[in-house]
Amino acid sequence: MKRTYLFVVVALCVISGVAGFAAYRYAHSDSDKADSIDGASALAPDIELPDLGGGTRKLSEWQGKLVLVNFWATWCAPCRHEIPMLREVQAQYGARGLQIVGPAMDDPQAVREALPGLGINYPVMAGDAPIVAAMDSLGDTLGALPFSVLIAADGRIVARKHGEFERKELQELIERHLP
């Protein structure tokens, strides 16, 4: 009798352990998809980005705000998929100090043509080598898009991510780092 009881309890321990393990992995499989680094403390360099009018914009222009630099391209489907959410996040948090900036690794003309359809409500830049250099200096290691870097109001890089943000993940990051 005691042996049966022991066997049942041990079996239940094993089953519940495996079930808990599996449930956790399943629930967190999405958030594992991309490398999000939080707590990075390096100061962001004051990069220069070519704008669509032939001039340049400097990152220091938005000093004092929480800046999300979202590198994208018109040929990048996951980037385009992420833009409507970024637009909404800019509208939601803009008044509280968030500024999204969208440098495109792309032909400026292609970006100009795509902009009306995308309805982007934050500054957009475009270019080739200067955008690649900006990605490198902000810590890109893959050369893949989308690539986002969150820079706190004091200029520290607080998060980097390749791939699309989940809305909840981005909102939590923003809430945590708003000035």
Partner: protein
């Protein structure tokens, strides 16, 4: 023995709590529906191999990592040495049709793509430029890539 048995239910409850903590560090041996897809650097995602000249035929291959794909219409091969070498029309499979949310139906390649040429010239070119572009499924896309490929003459 009775004391141990009385404490076993506590062990059962504790095992439920410990499981998620174990799960954060342990490797998952099975494939969940959205199993982690490791982000790859572009040269891990797409691996061009040497171009081979054999019996008047030139062939190139690009290995494609799991979960990654190359766009058919972005593939290009250009002669570099000699620059004016006439490659002729490429022979390239039709590829797989991929429904893209933003770009509609596009032809793509997975696993491996082979590109062949049958130039009129009797001698192979020395070097080619291979241009390609692709994505990691639902994760990231890579900008157009350009690589110089030496041609290996299999029948020197």
């Amino acid at each position: 023995m009775n004391r141990i048995l009385r404490r076993l239910p506590i062990l059962l409850i504790a095992s439920i709590g410990v499981a998620p903590q174990t799960a954060t560090t342990a490797a998952w041996p099975f494939s969940a529906p959205d199993a982690k897809q490791r982000l790859l650097a572009v040269d891990e995602a797409f691996q061009p191999r040497a171009a081979l000249w054999q019996g008047g035929h030139l062939s190139l291959e690009i290995g494609i990592a799991e979960h990654c794909y190359l766009y058919r219409d972005k593939l290009r091969v250009e002669p570099v040495d000699p620059a004016g070498y006439l490659l002729g029309a490429p022979s390239l499979a039709a590829g797989e049709t991929h429904e893209d949310e933003h770009f509609g139906k596009v032809a793509i390649f997975r696993n491996l793509v082979k590109i062949g040429f049958s130039p009129h010239a009797k001698q192979p070119p020395k070097q080619l430029r291979l241009i390609y572009q692709g994505c990691a499924e639902n994760l990231v896309c890579y900008p157009p890539q350009s690589r110089l490929i030496d041609v290996v003459d299999a029948n020197p």
